[in-house]
């Protein structure tokens, strides 16, 4: 498995609230491989964003992240000092944010943002230094690469003068200055309109192919995962409940939650008479049910589901499910 870029084992993240830690991500195991797009699917509050931010150590100070393994291309990320980790950020690990408008310094022009990143790059290698010297030309070329033909004009603008789609392209350009080996994208198209969303999705796919990097794509939208991702991991209330290749999961979802999500998402793609519902509501992180977290909403629930949270079961074909219907691991 030498092509694995990032390995997470038993990652838990919580927030300190008045003396105690409230976990929002629990026992997450993940691998993101070189050249693949892994979709991390979940609803709001499922812990998908926190998982992504934990990997890059971008959470606020009251966050507590613990893991058995956090390995990035043989580097133990847990052992790195704050300063060593900062050196990795941007250069080898990068992030694309949900709200492109909010991700830019509102007081500075686009050119300033690009210049800063190029200047930081300039200190890394002679090739980068060369680019940093001609940063303006390099920036225009980079902007053209992400689908902004008139880069020189865009660079003269302030962030609030550009559209969301344009800003998201620019944000991607900033990430590309270093050609990172792992990119985490957190719902990067949620704030965009349908048509622009498609353009940006296509841009992501083309980029990922060109860079041949590992890509973790966080989203709540099953249909986006379907068009974009090679594999998907489904999160529910802080845990991963199912993981496997996209095509197989869409053809044959195993976990009752995945089944429900897919049923309502895919049913809308054709004219249907009635949508299949998942009854009930998401549990709040303060009051998690005992045993399997999905049990209160599950139509296959059995008494044993309440006893303890089921372990991940290997069901073959690179697929894993956290459900007693498929054995006990």
């Amino acid at each position: 498995m030498s092509d694995v870029t990032l390995t997470l084992r038993n990652l838990s993240t919580g927030f300190k609230m008045g003396g105690r830690v409230m976990n929002v991500v629990r026992e997450v195991d993940l691998e993101v491989r070189k050249g693949e797009m892994l979709g991390l699917i979940g609803e709001s509050g499922s812990g998908k964003t926190v998982t992504g931010m934990s990997i890059l150590r971008l959470l606020p100070e009251n966050a507590v992240t613990e893991a058995d393994t956090l390995d990035f291309l043989g580097i133990d990320l847990l052992k790195l000092s704050t300063e060593q980790f900062r050196e990795m950020r941007g250069t080898r690990l990068a992030m694309v944010f949900q709200d492109p408008v909010g991700a830019f310094n509102p007081a500075k022009k686009i050119s300033w943002h690009l210049k800063q990143v190029f200047e930081r790059a300039g200190t890394k290698s002679p090739a980068h230094a060369e680019r940093a010297k001609n940063w303006r030309a390099s920036a225009i070329k980079l902007l053209a690469d992400v689908g902004i033909p008139h880069g020189a004009n865009v660079m003269r603008q302030y962030p609030h003068q550009l559209s969301g789609g344009m800003l998201q392209r620019t944000l991607i350009a900033l990430v590309l200055v270093f050609e990172p080996e792992l990119i985490v994208a957190d719902e990067p198209t949620t704030n965009l309109d349908n048509i622009v969303e498609r353009q940006i999705l296509r841009l992501f796919r083309d980029l990922q192919k060109r860079l041949d990097c590992a890509f973790l794509y966080v989203t709540h939208d099953m249909t986006i995962a379907a068009v974009l991702c090679d594999r998907i991991a489904v999160m529910y209330a802080g845990s991963i409940v199912e993981i496997g290749p996209t095509k197989q999961i869409f053809a044959d979802p195993k976990h009752p939650y995945t089944q429900g999500l897919l049923a309502s998402a895919l049913a809308l793609d054709t004219k249907t008479e009635r949508l299949q519902e998942i009854p009930g509501e998401l549990p709040s992180p303060g009051k998690l049910p005992p045993g399997c977290l999905f049990e209160p909403r599950c139509k296959f629930a059995k008494p044993e589901c309440r006893a303890k949270e089921p372990a991940m079961v290997d069901v073959g074909g690179e697929r894993h499910v956290r459900c007693v219907l498929y054995g006990h691991g």
Binding site: M53, R89, G90, A107, Q116, V117
Partner: protein
Amino acid sequence: MGFLWYLTIRIGGALATIAAGSFLIFLIMHLAPGDPALAVLGESATTETIAAYRAEHGLDEPVLVQFVIWAKMVLQGDLGKSIALAGKFPISDLLVTRLPNTIFIGLYGLVIALVISLIAGTAAALRQGKLVDTVATGVAVLGISMPDFWFSYVLILFFALSLDWFPSYGFTPPGESLIGAFHSGFLPALAIAAPMAGVFARILRASLVETARREYVTAARSYGFAAPFVFIHYVFRNAIIPFVTVLGLQVRYLLGGVVIIERVFGIAGMGSLIVDGAFARDYPVVQACALTFLAIVLSVNLIVDIVCALLDPRRTR
């Protein structure tokens, strides 16, 4: 282009406000009890002389006409003559000697408050929840809880009466000796600065903490920029915009403090002039001083607006 528009509009707005404000001042003074003619001519005036004076100064005209007459005079630099306080001395001459002292003390206090608040506010925000934060915010609350005139006496008690480092009374105008002005003005400036520094530091801290939570700060960290770079160019750069805005709103409190402090330390400034004028019922003096104070507040607000516009491209572009 956008910026010039912004500037034109703001200056126009300030001029409109000062016009409306001067009318308000004029109206208030008009409503005040007592006959200005009687006040000028004294108790011995005859009915004829009073009538002649009223006719000459248009006092029998409607308020609006009187206001226009006064406004025309003010625009020509003639603020009228003092009636009780300084004989029939022109008020504009009084202002020329008084205004620099007030501006000096006000700016002196402002600079002290800014220095203290920038250091304390930044330190508190950077060490949020730590000891530095607790101490800084605690002292800041104490600062805003004390009357500045009382604090002046505490300062006098320690630094003038006990230690004898600074004079307890009197002020050397900056025109006479700049060093003397800085020395004799230190205690009054510090007294004005203390509550202001408290207010400023709290605002700066809140603004920094709020800005640090923004997504662009997280984004900046994700590019791997060093922490000091992120703090200066992302957090501080954006946090000072609301800070400066609120700073502008504080001028009216700051000048209120100056009025009393000037009396405590016996500084011949605008504050003591307006208070003395009020006691002497010297309406033209009070009127002129109020107008000057209004002009000062509006100019400061204008400067603050311009600074904000320069700091925040979203306002003008």
